[in-house]
């Protein structure tokens, strides 16, 4: 079954904007993390996310068919055209909040990529296959850190619990579905995210349990990122630094 190009574009922007915005956030740690090994690991995570962005937005630009590049999409769209979930634009906070955000996202990606590797769209399947190796490593690392800090000292436990309470209302948006998701599911490009929730809950339940953290009861979730209806105030600031050179000196080669 043929895919509606506009819907496919939306889907690809969601993938690429998630990795772009989170890669940016993680890269903000450079040189400031608690220990040298973490400086290396965070730079490496950011690098993988930017690499995945190049693939997702590269394909998005191709599908869009207006002669644009991945860079045009990253650096020359305004906030309302971004399609990332709100979770990834949330500020870094302390190291624990950063790693918890990473874990909530990595866990979702690890469940999703397994499905995308079987996508009817060959390019989606190829990107997912490449990204899934990195994601498997990311989720293992972020899960280990969440467990280590959750089940560490009293202070580290309390900070992780506070981070979980802060970020939990942003986890649910990853499982929202709309027309785009229905179109992707019908064409066999991607699963309906709502159907991934059970597997996700099992995965994070196990890790957060080991971390001695309590998942809040509330299932209320903020949304508006993945359809662009309403981002947080944070995204504009992030884009202000990210896009500054391209905006200030348009049309240059870098």
């Amino acid at each position: 079954m043929s895919v509606d190009k506009q819907q496919l574009l939306q889907f690809l922007l969601r993938q690429g904007d998630n990795t772009l915005v989170l890669g940016h956030r993680v890269s903000e740690w450079c040189g400031h993390s608690p220990i040298l090994e973490e400086d290396i690991a965070l730079a490496n995570t950011a690098l993988d996310l930017i690499g995945q962005t190049q693939m997702w937005l590269g394909y998005a630009a191709e599908v869009q068919g207006e002669g644009k590049t991945a860079d045009d999409l990253a650096f020359l769209r305004d906030a309302w055209d971004f399609r990332n979930v709100l979770l990834v634009e949330m500020p870094n906070g302390d190291f624990g909040q950063t790693l918890l955000r990473q874990f909530l996202f990595d866990a979702f990606q690890s469940v999703l990529m397994g499905r995308l590797m079987k996508s009817s769209d060959e390019q989606v399947a190829a990107i997912a296959a490449k990204a899934s190796k990195e994601i498997a490593y990311h989720v293992e690392r972020s899960a280990d850190t969440v467990v280590g800090l959750g089940d560490g000292t009293e202070e580290s436990h309390d900070r992780m619990q506070a981070a979980l309470e802060y970020l939990w209302p942003y986890a649910g948006e990853m499982f929202e579905s709309d027309d785009t998701d229905a179109a992707m599911a019908a064409a066999g490009v991607a699963p309906d995210p709502a159907g991934l929730r059970e597997e996700y809950d099992a995965l994070i339940g196990k890790v957060l349990g080991e971390a001695t953290l309590t998942i809040p009861d509330s299932r209320y979730n903020h949304k508006g990122g993945r359809n662009g209806a309403m981002h947080t105030e944070h995204l504009g600031h992030l884009l202000t630094s990210m896009q500054w050179l391209q905006r200030a000196y348009p049309g240059c080669e870098w």
């Binding site: 993390s33 608690p34 220990i35 800090l149 580290s156 050179l245």
Partner: protein
């Protein structure tokens, strides 16, 4: 270079007659280019000097993340962002190998970091200069890593085995950084007039700080003789500086930029470029803590360490719980 003004712990070079048998045997190994390994006997002063030098080099790699990290979130393309992230990640990795090399001499990383944070150890003066425009990132890779390579290629022959091996490994990556940096500044130099202006500004600001990296002139460089005899230092500051200037001037010319020093001129007789001395009073000021970024760099590093204490404590506590549980299960 990343190790400057390392005070050699020594009362002066001993003659063969003044040496003990052990010292003579040690010196013979060095003279015959046999590497000294961690378990080998070595004079205390050799050990102390090496710890200072390797420690300062490690600190430089770590603090060096900051001026480049300053542009990661503003890199102009995804590819440039990826290249810069990979480079900064490499630099942190260099810090790690070097701290490990220092550990083989019996000095822990935590202790070296404590000395740095207390202001009792230093890092290269170059990282106390700011990165102010995107061309600076190209210039740092090209000039700063370029100068580091000149020094570190020489240090591959250094007498201490783990240090020498770390240098060999690190140099490969530094060469890659220098090439990528030159490529980035080429884009700027050959770009729009505004980009060219940024490239010129970068070269003008970073030239003298880059040639200061090799340390004071040989005439003012105390304690060098013992370090040379121990092959902790392999070439003199002035030799290395000249080598850097000779390789870099044609590269500036190729970029079509103005030379940052009106006295740079090929000297047929010497077979080298002549150039002006940097302002050494500025250098000594930066070393003393009065560079444009000294205070902020240390503030950042100390804050990162202090803010991270709960993380290190938490992970350690968890590892101990796990180990205890494992013992209990056995």
């Amino acid at each position: 270079m990343y190790a400057q003004m390392i005070k050699t712990a020594s009362a002066g070079v001993k003659s063969r007659e003044e040496m003990t048998d052990q010292e003579r045997e040690f010196q013979d190994k060095i003279d015959n280019d046999i590497k000294i390994e961690p378990r080998d006997w070595m004079p205390d002063d050799y050990r102390r000097t090496l710890i200072r030098q390797i420690g300062q080099h490690a600190h430089s790699e770590v603090v060096g993340q900051l001026p480049e990290g300053n542009w990661i979130t503003r890199a102009p393309t995804l590819e440039r962002k990826a290249i810069l992230l990979a480079k900064v990640q490499d630099e942190a990795g260099h810090g790690l190998y070097l701290y490990s090399a220092a550990e083989t001499l019996g000095e822990s990383r935590d202790e070296l970091v404590r000395l740095l944070h207390e202001g009792r150890m230093k890092y290269s003066s170059i990282f106390n200069y700011p990165t102010l425009n995107w061309a600076d990132i190209g210039a740092v890779g090209w000039l700063v890593d370029g100068a580091a390579i000149v020094n570190q290629v020489a240090l591959q022959r250094t007498s201490y085995g783990p240090y020498s091996r770390a240098m060999i490994r690190i140099c490969k990556e530094e060469s890659f950084h220098a090439r990528q940096g030159y490529h980035a500044i080429m884009k700027m130099a050959f770009g729009t007039p505004e980009q060219t202006r940024q490239a010129q500004s970068a070269v003008d600001r970073l030239w003298f700080p880059a040639i200061m990296m090799f340390g004071p002139t040989d005439a003012d460089s105390t304690n060098s003789d013992q370090s040379m005899a121990w092959k902790i230092k392999v070439k003199s500051n002035d030799e290395l500086r000249q080598q850097f200037v000779d390789q870099t001037v044609p590269q500036i010319e190729y970029l079509g930029l103005d030379l940052p020093d009106p006295n740079i001129k090929w000297n047929e007789e010497r077979g080298h470029y002549d150039f002006s001395d940097p302002d050494w009073s500025e250098f000594f000021n930066v070393i003393k803590g009065n560079g444009p970024c000294n205070v902020d760099r240390m503030k950042d590093r100390v804050a990162a360490w202090d803010d991270g204490e709960w993380v290190r404590d938490g992970l350690l506590a968890h590892a101990q719980k796990k180990a205890a549980a494992k013992v209990a299960a056995e």
